[in-house]
């Protein structure tokens, strides 16, 4: 089980949270202007990275707020936690193991 540091509540067990998938996918400004291919890309295509991955979590059994996490998808190590709307922090060489 992950131990996730909610930016508002502090460290809690993973079972208090819900996963929201890849972070920073901006909804297109004008959806009707998109081609089918672009719309499919927005809706379905995912980076699904092996290694550090920016993803969303919701503290659904706590403060019920969404936030971002950078987690290594091989080691499961959480490398950064930051609020919605913030730009991902620069991890520098701290990329986690096993990438």
């Amino acid at each position: 089980m992950l131990y996730i540091d909610c930016p508002w509540c502090g460290k809690r067990n993973e079972t208090e949270f819900h996963y929201g998938g890849e972070a920073h996918i901006a909804r297109p400004e004008d959806p009707s202007a998109l081609s089918d291919e672009q719309w499919a890309d927005f809706l379905f295509m995912r980076k699904n990275l092996k290694g550090p991955y920016a993803e969303r979590w919701c503290h659904s059994n706590g403060c019920r707020r969404w936030f971002n996490v950078i987690r290594n998808t091989v080691s499961h190590e959480i490398l950064a936690v930051y609020k919605m709307g913030e730009t991902p922090p620069d991890l520098g060489p701290k990329k986690g193991e096993g990438v």
Partner: protein, 439 residues
């Protein structure tokens, strides 16, 4: 375990029976008897371990069940034998040998029923076809219904299955109890059993045998199976594939087929492709061996239980996926805990059984819980992925259809609906609710 055969002496010591290029020994009661006389010490290796050639007609990336089946059917059905299967680890190190081996074809939608039923029919003749006992055991698969919604969905699926020529029956709670006597059908249960669908032709098969059997049969038809060979790049020239970069050097190819399950996004990315796939851990566990108690496969989507008993007597159980993306080949304990809680309610008799081992695989899940068997925007590059939590049963059918797609450069009607384009056209094949737990 791969080995280099550049040293012929070492190869002969490694493989006392079969020299490079020597024909495969057919398995039969006579060869067993003959080998018994030498205490079974002279069985040849089941497949060669050749050095990669500089160029192939087709390179298959991924030596799981699906990749090996693709190679076999390319050779058998299409006469394409200048083929290499490149596997970064060892055969059967991925999901092929980590799954709970449930085989069935009772999917809801026409497109799914057609390809899974093709697969089940191939399973039914597979041991003979590849001269390798895959131990298919058609002991019947129950999919339980715990509420009125489940009942309606189940009855609907039985009707849909029958219209598609897939055997299916609806059992009420007493019928379930009769078919699987140890199940708890008490009305006061948290998730009471109201009935179940039954596919009698469903069951389980032996996972390692599937990988090894297809490998041996493909090898016998000239396919090179190369283990410890990780693909690190996909070479292209003007929108056309030309080969792959590997941990054992560059290998050229006219066509490249990607079949890497949990690593599909990583490999597709080497050719600049994005996939609608996310990788999640999925866990399974086995108990200590006990006397035979359960003679069928029981699955429940609502409470997320599936269980069968292996020939060794172990209860084989599967849990749900971890919610988060991962490549770590391990899952979380709370997922297992949740699964076992529900399992004990269904089978109170298991309460003192000790679980011996648990493990995880990485499954590649599509948004509509259906696979992709498709051409790609890159000429000569093909992809087979997205089988998620339920692709073992599809191994022969998937390989069969994918071989057609690669050989003819166009999909077979069976896999045409499972294209990458469906995410643009919107023609999704939504088996999420339909197939309940999709194993």
């Amino acid at each position: 375990m791969a080995h280099s055969n550049s040293d012929a002496g070492a190869y002969a010591r490694w493989n006392p029976g079969r020299k490079q290029g020597e024909p495969m020994v057919k398995y039969s009661i006579f060869t067993i008897a003959r080998n018994a006389m030498t205490s079974h010490k002279n069985w040849p290796r089941q497949w060669r371990s050749p050095e990669p050639k500089p160029e192939y007609d087709v390179i298959i990336i991924g030596g799981g069940g699906h990749g090996l089946a693709t190679a076999y059917y390319l050779a058998k059905e299409h006469g394409v034998t200048n083929v290499a299967v490149l596997e970064k680890g060892w055969l059967g190190g991925g999901n092929t040998a980590r799954n709970t081996t449930i085989v069935r074809s009772n999917y809801l939608w026409d497109e799914s029923a057609a390809i899974y039923e093709k697969s089940l029919q191939l399973w039914e003749g597979l041991s003979q076809d590849i001269n390798y006992n895959v131990m298919l055991s058609q002991r019947g698969v129950l999919n339980l219904a715990h509420n009125l919604g489940d009942v309606r969905e189940g009855v609907r699926r039985v009707n849909a299955n029958r219209l598609n020529g897939v055997d299916a029956e609806w059992l009420d709670a007493d019928g379930v109890k009769e078919f699987c006597p140890i199940i708890n059908i008490s009305k006061s249960a948290r998730h009471p059993v109201l009935g179940a669908t039954l596919q009698r032709r469903g069951g389980v098969a032996r996972h390692d045998s599937v990988a090894w059997g297809f490998a041996r049969a493909a090898d016998a038809r000239g396919v090179d199976i190369i283990q410890n060979c990780e693909v690190t790049g996909i070479l292209r020239d003007g929108g056309k594939v030309t080969g792959v970069e590997t941990s054992r050097g560059t290998i050229k190819a006219k066509k490249v087929a990607m079949v890497t399950a949990g690593h599909s996004s990583v490999v597709a990315n080497m050719a600049g492709l994005r996939l609608p796939v996310e990788s999640h851990p999925l866990q399974a566990l086995v108990s200590e061996p006990i006397k035979p108690v359960i003679n069928c496969v029981v699955m429940s989507g609502a409470v997320h239980v599936y269980v069968s008993q292996s020939d060794k007597g172990e209860l084989v159980m599967g849990a749900g996926v971890d919610a988060f993306n991962s490549y770590g080949q391990r899952g979380s304990f709370h997922v297992i805990e949740h699964q076992l809680g529900a399992c004990l309610e269904l089978f109170p008799i298991f309460s003192r059984v000790r679980m011996m081992r648990s493990w995880g695989g990485i499954v590649d899940v599509c948004p509509d819980a259906s696979p992709i068997i498709s051409k790609t925007p890159v000429e000569g590059l093909y992809i087979n992925c997205g089988w998620g939590t339920g692709g073992f049963k599809a191994t022969p059918g998937s390989g069969w259809a994918f071989a057609h797609t690669v050989a003819k450069d166009e999909p077979h009607p069976l896999n045409a609906p499972f294209s990458l384009q469906r995410f643009e056209t919107g023609a999704l094949i939504d088996e999420h609710g339909a197939a309940a737990v999709a194993h």
